[in-house]
């Protein structure tokens, strides 16, 4: 259902969309039943001349079941939703499948910078490919990302991947994704981070293996060796920079 509104391009985005459908069906039934009952009662018991209201206290057993049975059913639906929600959560946030490649994502007022490990597959080596506002990944590969912020709280949000993780200064978070469809997708900052928050975007480009290799070769060649001495791994934002 969400897929009609926004592209779905990662391995777990279908799980998130499935959870959305499940909840919509369950709460939709309740919502329609409750509103229908509500409007029917208003219509049925409109004041009429000479007709008094009934004296109903709510202690009558045959009436109380109209509250108690739905109530028990709400609890059942809650349990179903809790189980489904936690399953999806565990997939996205609690399990970390082995990575084919690890990238670094750095948020800073008001730009995203990325580091790809380059041909040697290791971060913080001279062949790292550093980019600003554009992250290239290869379709079908499992990626880990190391997320950090240099100043305030940002949030790494890739809507097409159904992925969101806040970046807090002073910490490094590890998460994962596995792109399933080629194309380019928006990366946004989802946590207000100052006057430039509204323009803090980047592109996530999912390449075919060939295109990715070509991109990597083109960029590895032009990345200067001294870039390796940069110290992204120890974020040290000075208050007042």
């Amino acid at each position: 259902m969400l897929d009609h509104l926004i592209a779905s391009a990662a391995s777990f985005s279908g799980d998130v969309d499935g959870l959305f459908v499940l909840i919509t069906v369950l709460v939709g039934v309740w919502f329609i039943a409750a509103e229908a009952m509500f409007f029917w009662l208003i219509f049925r018991f409109r004041a009429k001349d000479g007709e008094k209201a009934q004296y109903v206290t709510g202690k009558e057993k045959h009436l109380k079941k109209w509250i108690n049975i739905p109530h028990a059913l709400v609890l059942v639906c809650d349990v179903v939703i809790i189980v489904a929600a936690i399953r999806v959560w565990v997939t996205i946030k609690q399990t970390l499948p082995p990575a084919d490649r690890t990238v670094r994502v750095v948020a800073q007022q008001w730009a995203w910078t990325f580091a790809d490990p380059g041909p040697d597959q290791k971060l913080d080596t001279p062949d790292d490919i550093r980019t600003t506002d554009e992250l290239h990944v290869e379709v079908g590969k499992t990626y880990h990302f190391l997320l950090e912020s240099k100043d305030v709280v940002h949030s790494f949000f890739v809507p097409a991947f159904r992925l969101k993780q806040d970046a807090d200064p002073g910490r490094i978070y590890t998460g994962w994704f596995k792109p399933t469809k080629t194309g380019s997708y928006d990366i946004l900052c989802a946590e207000i981070c100052g006057i430039g928050h509204g323009v803090m975007g980047a592109l996530l480009v999912v390449d075919t293996p060939e295109a990715f290799q070509a991109w990597e070769q083109a960029h590895a060649a032009e990345t200067p060796a001294e870039a390796a001495s940069a110290t992204e791994s120890t974020p040290a934002p000075a208050a007042g920079q």
């Binding site: 989802a190 100052g194 323009v199 208050a239």
Partner: protein, 570 residues
């Protein structure tokens, strides 16, 4: 002493310190009368609502027509946009919902409904309003200082809020925080008064389960507020120290932790939702029983569900932080507690719907608002399930789905229930009746466009439109033509809704002075406030009432009249 004269007055059945003539200043600026203070809270809240609504108008216009000057404001800069959304949120929750629902209705209704002549601490009550007024003035002042008002969102997450180098509003952010602290101290004083008064000053014969639901809800909400506000006030003062003294409670570069603030904020912030929701539910219960001429279905069950909701509300705060970098296992616990809160809240909704069964329903203006509360609040309730589910919150967090969800809870609470209460108790406040025709025009002119604003925002949120963005044309996935159309539809609906507030304001002011006069009990209601004069004098009753039965004895078989006031002897 105030208490002594109060007690003496209660015993003697006479009004306290109201015997001497009061000049204008004593009556309107230095009054200790709970009704005057309650109405002052309401009027201040309504004035702040106009300011908050104007802010909403400006930023919605910017979102629908980015880059165009907004009539009445001009071009909106990104900094101003952040200031507008921050202060819209702060004002509507802290300076509108809280003062009107808790302080306004609480002050006006509690002594009248329990048969007391005033609050137990009338001068503390006076101080509470004065501090609140001061906090509102400080907040307004914060909009006009160097670099303008605070723009770090109403949640004020540090380090953005803690450091002027990041938020660029050195004065705005400090004044905003000072206003928040002052305001909470004000409500703390008011809340203590509500709890003590309702426990000690009930009319003779009034047992706990003879107390009207709205008093129960306000008192339980006050207890929730007392229990939750401490961490936030402490956090706010720590944040103020970070801003002004260079401490680093929340600054990681010197050993602080930004996530600590989030816990302190939401430990208060989530119970806060119920602090304002419970009185709204109470108001709706009062209005529904009167206009359905029915006993409230399962009165005691409602009270137990209110208490259960209040207790559970303390165990759900971290659902605001699923993606905030807390230990991911915590999300599982908070998913369970969050979804469990649907149990008492659903029970309350079922009870309200069941109250209509067998009724003799009169669709007066207050009743229309009360019914609309239930119809709209259900939408807010069921959409909360989406967001409490951790696996889906990964996507929906901080999107417009959240914005639409909480407006579907807060708008029914802070506007629909309030309108129900204001139109219901207006005759008691001013001794005159509001115009029904214009009341209904206002009702439909508010309810229909309200849905026109927020239904599109649900869809936009599900399409990945996230919050607090100044101009969506910077992003490809949020620039589709249908999304632009929906933004315009939401904005047009907002303008229509705001235009329909004009008949209400005119009706309100006109009826205050020129509306048809009413007697003590124009709605034929049971609760004690309707046994006092309209409007009640300082001290409320010449002879204090006695209570003989519960508040909802409508349509009792074997009686000629379909109501049976609480103080009427058999």
């Amino acid at each position: 002493m105030a208490q002594h004269s109060h007690e003496a007055a209660h015993v003697a059945g006479a009004s306290h310190d109201a015997h001497h003539h009061q000049n204008w200043f004593q009556k309107y600026c230095w009054s200790t009368d709970h009704k005057m203070i309650g109405m002052q809270y309401m009027f201040t809240g309504m004035a702040m609502a106009l300011l908050g609504a104007f802010m909403a108008y400006v930023f919605r216009m910017q979102l629908a027509f980015p880059g165009h000057a907004v009539p009445g404001f001009g071009l909106v800069s990104p900094g101003q946009y952040n200031m507008l959304i921050t202060n819209h949120g702060s004002i509507m929750i802290f300076w509108v919902a809280m003062p009107v629902l808790i302080a306004g209705f609480g002050n006006f209704l509690i002594p009248l409904m329990i048969g007391a002549d005033d609050m137990v601490f009338p001068r503390l009550n006076r101080l509470s309003y004065q501090l609140f007024l001061l906090s509102a003035l400080v907040l307004i002042a914060s909009l006009f200082v160097q670099n303008g008002g605070f723009g770090g969102a109403w949640t004020a997450y540090p380090p953005l809020s803690a450091d002027k180098h990041y938020n660029l509003t050195p004065w705005g952010s400090s004044l905003w925080l000072i206003a928040v602290v002052l305001e909470f101290v004000a409500f703390l004083l008011g809340g203590i008064n509500f709890i003590v008064t309702s426990m000690n000053s009930r009319a003779p014969g009034m047992k706990a389960f003879d107390v009207p639901i709205v008093v129960w809800t306000i008192v339980i909400a006050s207890i929730l507020f007392l229990a939750s506000v401490g961490p936030l006030v402490a956090g706010a003062i720590m944040l103020l120290f970070d801003q002004l003294l260079g401490t680093s409670f929340f600054n990681p570069t010197r050993g602080g932790d930004p996530v600590l603030w989030q816990h302190l904020f939401w430990f208060f912030g989530h119970p806060e939702v119920y602090v304002v929701m419970l009185p709204a539910m109470g108001i709706v219960a009062e209005v529904m029983t009167v206009f359905a001429r029915k006993k409230l279905f399962a009165y005691k069950t409602v009270i137990y569900t209110i208490i259960a909701t209040g207790v559970l509300s303390f165990f759900v705060w971290a659902h605001h932080q699923f993606v905030a970098g807390i230990d991911p296992r915590m999300a599982n616990v908070f998913t369970v507690t969050t979804l469990l809160i649907s149990i008492p809240v659903a029970e309350m909704c079922f009870v309200y719907i069941a109250t209509l069964y067998g009724g003799s329903i009169r669709l007066t203006t207050p009743m229309l608002w009360a019914l609309a509360f239930i119809a709209e609040f259900l939408i807010g309730g069921v959409t909360g399930i989406y967001l409490g589910s951790s696996g889906l919150d990964v996507f929906f967090h901080d999107t417009y789905f959240v914005v639409a969800h909480f407006h579907y809870t807060f708008f029914p609470i802070a506007i629909i229930a309030v309108m129900s209460g204001v139109t219901f108790w207006f005759p008691k406040m001013f001794g005159r009746q509001l115009n029904e025709f214009w009341g209904k025009v206002h009702f439909w002119g508010t309810i229909i466009p309200f849905n026109g604003i927020f239904i599109p925002l649900f869809i936009l949120g599900a399409a990945g439109e996230h919050r607090r963005i100044f101009d969506y044309s910077n992003f490809e996935h949020m620039s589709k033509p249908w999304m632009i159309d929906m933004r315009i539809a939401a904005t047009v609906s907002l303008v229509v809704m705001l235009a329909f507030q004009i008949p209400f304001l005119i009706n309100f002011v006109w009826s205050m002075f020129k509306g048809p006069k009413v007697g003590k009990n124009p709605w034929n209601a049971n609760t004690l406030e309707w046994t006092a004069d309209s409007p009640p004098p300082h001290g409320n009753w010449a002879v204090m009432p006695e209570v003989h039965r519960g508040p909802y004895e409508y349509s009792v078989p074997g009686r000629e009249r379909d109501f049976w006031p609480q103080d009427e002897k058999v």
